[in-house]
């Protein structure tokens, strides 16, 4: 019951943290989409570049988040706070997004592309009307991972000055306040699960109908 009391007693603070958390996640995901989806599409044109870019993405993904945040802080332009947090989160999102966009576009049936090209569709039309729609299930899977992952890692940005739900955990640790730690963890987990569920529902609407129907339906 102490857990609930803690929340009741600190509603304004928790709301502030939640808001900050959401805005960080939202910006990070938006920037990631704008940046990494085109990169994922672009590298489908060259095997060599695909290997390079995916290699970089994998390497970044292997860096522990705490140290990546710390490294960002040392860069003069970034410093403590939101900029560093955003850059680090966007870099983390590179792996799931670029990889899934690349694979989604790559696995589209070659004969479909061949037929489309043979009918006179140009590169952009094929990309926009065929490859991207057919890649939506895979791209969306990457997008969901990105959102959930960013929600989690965003908490760690509290150590470089972000005032978000991660702060409940870090402060709870220094003060050894169990209610604070557990509530912070539960709230973050709850947000992640809620976002994933919402995206799951959205995915059903976005995946083209023809990919879902089968013979006899």
């Amino acid at each position: 019951m102490n857990y609930i009391r803690f929340i009741q007693d600190n509603i304004p603070l928790i709301l502030e943290y939640t808001k900050a958390h959401f805005s960080l996640v939202l910006w990070a995901v938006l920037i990631s989409l704008v940046l990494w989806v085109p990169v994922g599409v672009l590298i489908t044109r060259s095997e060599k570049w695909a290997n390079r870019v995916l290699g970089i993405a994998n390497t970044i993904f292997c860096i522990p988040s705490l140290s990546l945040f710390a490294v960002m802080v040392t860069i003069p332009f970034l410093g403590l706070g939101r900029r560093s947090a955003l850059v680090a989160l966007v870099l983390y999102a590179m792996m799931p997004l670029v990889r899934n966009v690349y694979q989604g576009v790559k696995v589209v049936d070659k004969s479909v592309i061949e037929a489309a090209r043979g009918m006179g569709m140009n590169y952009w039309r094929i990309l926009w009307e065929i490859q991207l729609p057919l890649a939506t299930p895979v791209i969306f899977a990457g997008f969901r991972i990105t959102v959930v992952m960013t929600t989690g890692i965003a908490a760690i940005a509290t150590y470089i000055g972000e005032r978000n739900l991660g702060r409940l955990i870090s402060e709870g640790l220094t003060r050894f306040n169990i209610e604070m730690i557990v509530d912070g963890a539960l709230l973050i987990a709850f947000i992640a699960i809620a976002l994933d569920t919402m995206l799951g529902a959205l995915e059903k609407k976005i995946v083209p109908r023809g990919l879902r129907v089968h013979r006899g339906h």
Binding site: S111, M119, G120, E129, I130
Partner: protein, 373 residues
Amino acid sequence: MIELREVTKVYKGQTVPAVDRLSLKIPEGETCVFVGPSGCGKSTTLRMINRMIEPTSGTILINNKDIRESDPDRLRMGIGYVIQQIGLLPHRTVAENIAIVPRLYGWPKEKIRKRVDELLELIGLDPETTRDKYPSQLSGGQMQRVGVARAMAVDPPIMLMDEPFGAVDPIARNYLQDEFLRLQREMRKTICFVTHDINEAIKMGDRIAIFNKGRLVQYGTPHEILTRPANEFVSDFIGYDRVVKKLGLYRVADLAGPAGCVAREGELPEIGRLMREKESDVAFLVDAHGRPCGFLTTEDIGGMGDEISPQSLMQKALGRRGAFAQREMVLRDALSLMLEYDTEYLGVLNGGDLAGVITLSAIRKHSCRKEGE
């Protein structure tokens, strides 16, 4: 008209050309079949015609215009293209798939809708039930037909077909071939058709181009190729049964003679006399409705035919109930039917009616005569 002049294609990183100094003319309104073993360059040649592959050297002309002068996408919009894997867009309905090229041309919606329905009728699919289906809801044969309809959407004068019926089962393939021949008789499009199946080439082609190792080995009508194979490769490729294959080029109607003697069951006792009167070697038995149900030959009635009971004659005649061929049947199948029924005669049918008779000796003379040409 499509003309290839000294066309060569060497793929990157290879020294042996995939297509080697190929020259070929395909007259307007004809079907030209490229045939040969795999890796012989037939598909490469086809794909160079719509610039899916650019030749290393040489010139390709369509209606005397160098295809390099046209924008590749524009060029392809004007050429129907069908591939073995069909490549229907899985996220688009049948109607949307057929509408792709009309949409590229910017046709108004109403015109596209009409054309889609017209094409679905043409290929034998019901527009009402098929139009809004997705490709995954169709059978293989239906998909292939939609693929052909899609290629014909803007009625292009030229069609390129790369093993279009290669992925469907033999029965559906035969049916699709017949349907396509029927359509082509009306459309008279200029068609390049790739296959590795010599039988399909003989059936579909006005002309056949036989490829081997990137070179054109022989180019001619099916008849020329079967009668005078240019070299050992061609005759091996055709097979030992080339005379029989040639029979696939002609139809029963080409050799049918008049039926001569037709009798009803009651006339069986006098059948010998009737046949002698009509100077006919074969007598057809018709039922009460005038439909043919069998036949007898002079051998059956043993010279006079008077000493054999009408019942056993009846039995014999009815035993050949199946020994009839439609006028459109190819001679090869008629010959097979004769062997099956162990007879030298087949009744010729026009629908349900008796239209004449075809004999083994006529087929034999026909193939000998052609052989000696």
